[in-house]
Symmetry: C2
Subunit: 285 residues, 2 copies
Amino acid sequence: MSIEIRNVTKQFGDTLALDHVSLTLEENKIYGLLGNNGAGKSTLLSIITDRQKATEGCVLVDGENVSGNDAALGKLFLVGEQNLFPDDMKVKRAFDTAQMFYPNFDRAYAEATAEKFGLNLKKKITALSTGYASIFRLILGLSVNTPYLFFDEPVLGLDAQHRDLFYRLLVEKYAENPCTIVISTHLIAEVANLIEHTIIIRTGRILKNLPTEELMADAFTVSGPAATVDAFTSGRHILTSSTLGGLKTACVQGVPEGELPVGLELSKINLQDYFISMMEEEDQK
Amino acid sequence: MSIEIRNVTKQFGDTLALDHVSLTLEENKIYGLLGNNGAGKSTLLSIITDRQKATEGCVLVDGENVSGNDAALGKLFLVGEQNLFPDDMKVKRAFDTAQMFYPNFDRAYAEATAEKFGLNLKKKITALSTGYASIFRLILGLSVNTPYLFFDEPVLGLDAQHRDLFYRLLVEKYAENPCTIVISTHLIAEVANLIEHTIIIRTGRILKNLPTEELMADAFTVSGPAATVDAFTSGRHILTSSTLGGLKTACVQGVPEGELPVGLELSKINLQDYFISMMEEEDQK
């Protein structure tokens, strides 16, 4: 059981949105799909879920080509940025529709979750605020119970309390009913502890694709008096550094080696800062 | 030099969006305006900048009532969620307009900043993506050089690298040219180190209004074996707690007292988690 993305390329006019992307999404794992705006995240998710066609390459769901294949598509659900329901449809009615298309849609769970978020079932979908439109879509995602679940910017416009609720419900859902989840988000720090595997995409190409723990073991932060930090990091690959007064903090690629000089402090890098420093470095190339 | 918000109430039909809000915004300070969706943040910012009229109460800018007062309004700039420029206007032309209305608008800085963000000056404002529409507005904010500056959700839709760039530019700007800045945002963790003073608003009322440092000193996190944590926190006001295996982490109101039992670890609470736990607690009332 897995999704195989084989050599997928997507061209929009002169723009190469995806450039020969190959990836495997294994069963029962939570993936983070990270990348700047325009990197190709949404295009990739649209192609996996057959909302867009690849210019080249293909996507196999449990061994079957997804293109126009209803059985394969029934195993996937994308919580995207667009509303796919008719403009005047109410939330309650949209749940009815979801129930028709997804036999494992858990109606009772969807309604209970709507209540937790304070989503009014009688409202028209198009009348929802940015935050509640996101909430409506992520409730669908949490309730469909498909083996593969994709979230594209699920928390856009949500306040901190609702984001926290979403992350907690997602973990709960995953614990009770494991499935493959791919979360594409700009709020990297908030999902860092959730995602077991990190895929970083940049200008249509896969830059990193490895277990989050392995990625995080590949860099560290050292801080202390500037001169001591400089001596310790000399000859090493420094990703970013900042100095405040006489104190310097440097984010360094690799693992710390040798004895740590007195006055220096080592700490783990956080995923969001690491992502930013990687992007800064790529910009310099 | 200050802004005085005096007893401001705003009623929309049956809804009391703001309920007798009184606040002082002092000169040369960075404020965080925090609150869930629907709490009244945007309404408050709209009334301060005279885009909406208060049902009751008034706003004084350096002692003068802001209502219909061009001189007072010239001292304020709101980076809001709406585009106030004509639909077919290009970014470059919008900078021209800003220059006409705000004599201290720094055109060279605006263009250099647009380049840093990769914002195309020749694009029509309405053709910008969510991320670039935010970038366009926040560049205006960074360039107008008014003594009072308000940012309403300035980073909505921005990727992590662009958010980081914005925070760095904001700090740089503030260091070179101090002014009063109010940032309303749902990304609390990211601005926690920026905001000197925190205002928390809930259902139209001010819940907290104090220096961020003072607010943060009012709670702490303790973790360790569940039984030891329970004994240490017994009789105390526990905001939230979570247990994983036999380890418990509790977020506790107040300052830690007495000797810390062996095996327990104290840490500072983070502003976003503190905010969420405050909201959870208010929900229970």
